[in-house]
Amino acid sequence: MASSRTPDTAAVITGLGIVSPLGNSFVDVADNLLAGRSGVCEIAAAAGAREGRQFAAPVTSIPHPTAPGCDDFAHLGRLEQLCLAPAATAFADAAVAGTVRPQRIGVVLGIGAEQLKAWELDFLAGGTRVFEPRRDETLVHAIARRLGIAGPAVAVAAACASSGYAMALGRTWLDAGQVDACLVGGCDILSPTAIAAFYNLRALSRRSDDPHKASRPFDRDRDGFVMAEGGAFFMLERRAEAARRGAKVYGELAGVGMSSDAHHMVTPCSDPTEAARAIALALADAGVVPADVDYVNAHAAGTPVGDAAEAGAIRLAFGAAADAIPVSSTKSMSGHLVSGAAAFEAVACLAAMQREAVPPTVNLDAVDPACALDHVPHVARPHRVTIAASNSFGFGGANLCLVLRKAA
């Protein structure tokens, strides 16, 4: 479908909020990513855990947001804090309150298993909510209520691509004129049951003797991903309206592409066709060709099948241009933020643009021949990045690619 988007109606990012294992501000996250620092560490094993030593990439502190509606932040549950902190930070950073009517501001929260996590956290704290026939307010409506957002509020879930789908949906609302500003992003939380479920699925790395080396996307010795928590939020606005009110601009969400493998509910698809189609759709949506792309932030979580399939998808979508496009997986440092991953990795793309350097894939000691690409192992590579593509793929075959463009 032809896009009616013009330079004036392009969706630009005017606010940003992050809570992650690599820091809680754009500066800290950019510094840590480009220094190749890992947020993975040993964590306290839950009662009944499968292994005595557990590791993950946790958020070590959640900043108290200063936005109105957050006065009781310290008394909220950890899941609500992890979502509200970056959302409120992005909202305040964009300074839309008072300049954009609340009815014209929307919010889309990408979160894959809100109810499962909420029930589990309550149960672990001695609660019984999972056994009770309740119909509680969901997080996205709580965020909207607290921040005074009176426009559409929708939660979306596409497993590990959830926050990217949230960004995509928010942009369609801007395109359709349904909102003038939209808070988009997503978040996730570490929980014992999720860790156990992924462990039992054999999706997690078992390199418990050396947690820092466990997340090794594209490496020949990769054996699964490392779970993480946190996420990021952005305020999206049409460029002309952002300029009219003098908003600062971090970058542009220039293109989105979505597809489904229709392969299996659990196992990743080794056929790269549909993942490549999502990338191609995103490039077309952004009005760019493969050779225009300066950096690809790969989904690559460190799973044997998934990384090789993604490398194939990048080759298929970018063709010969793939030889000259630096590719890295920042999950090697951040771990896998699951629902929050796509939004966090969009931040990594903005960091690459601002710092003119591509973050590395740490622990990439020996590239798997099945994953041959222009990798950036171990240390950041100085490189001017104007256009970046970021992939996210989830359970159930949800494929997503975001194309981001540097602010003019």
């Binding site: 479908m1 009944g48 009815q103 929307g106 979160i111 298993a113 109810q115 499962l116 029930w119 589990e120 149960f123 999972v130 056994f131 026939p133 309740r134 119909r135 509680d136 307010e137 969901t138 409506h141 009176a150 559409p152 509020a153 929708v154 939660a155 979306v156 879930a157 596409a158 497993a159 789908y165 995509a168 949906l169 369609t172 359709a176 004129g177 349904q178 049951t193 156990a196 479920a197 992924f198 462990y199 039992n200 699925l201 592409g257 979505m258 597809s259 489904s260 493998d261 229709a262 392969h263 509910m265 659990v266 189609r277 759709l281 949506d285 989830g394 359970f395 159930g396 075959g397 949800a398």
Partner: protein, 286 residues
Amino acid sequence: MHTLQFQPASAPACVLETHAIVEVPLSETRALRDAPSPAGAPALPPRFLRHCDEHTVVGVRAVLEAIAAMPEPAPSFTRYGVIAAPRQAGRIAAAQTLAQVAKAGGIAVSPHIVPQCSLHAIASAVSVALGMHGPNLGTSGGPEALSEGLFAAMSLVRSRGCDGLWLVFTEWDEEPILDVAGVPTNDPLCRAVAVAVRPHSAADAGSVTFSLAAADSVVRREPHTKPSASELVAFAWALGMCAAGGAIASWAHECPWGAEIRIASPSAAAQATRAHGTEHMRREAA
């Protein structure tokens, strides 16, 4: 004092292709997992629904029933996306898992709990079962599922590379009452409404249309109240009426943020906004 502003009808976003509602008691969902597809609908892969949540079982069935209701041969849905909007899916499996973990530890956690009971699970199951390669995603999970699902669909239906969308709404008629092991002690109905839509075009003059009226153009009827389970039944009833040219020709669902999604039969499409505005004016005057 109210100032009434009547906006012109918003352009239809999409048109209805088919729909179905399915209601199954919890006690019968086990048999439904292995039931053959209805005549005219594609067969599912063997044991496909074995590990699925009850909402997925009933949601997939509603899609199959909606396909079976179409004139044969049914069109290809290869480039369709899926949006599923359940209310409180996965609670039985979650309760049973947590009860087992408390006794046996992490070894008791099924690897299926996350992929089959998360919010995306119903949409993914429909996508996988029927070979749909458009975007698949879950929305809401809570009380506002109908609003969130419909509103998301109004813009995503025009996604690049997507020919149309399946919308699947699911809910319990009455929430399951669980014992300490997570075993249900009642037998509530699990309900699903499946709707296929495609983007509206000039050639769709004879179709039931969905259109979106932004909050700015909607005159408030009354303070928003929480939707009840019957809201989904009303939605399915309205779809049926509009499709059959029955007693009502148009129907509007009001989202909590004030926007309205309007469904109109072909004959009513031109008059819907005017009639709607008149009704509001009467209410306001009263």
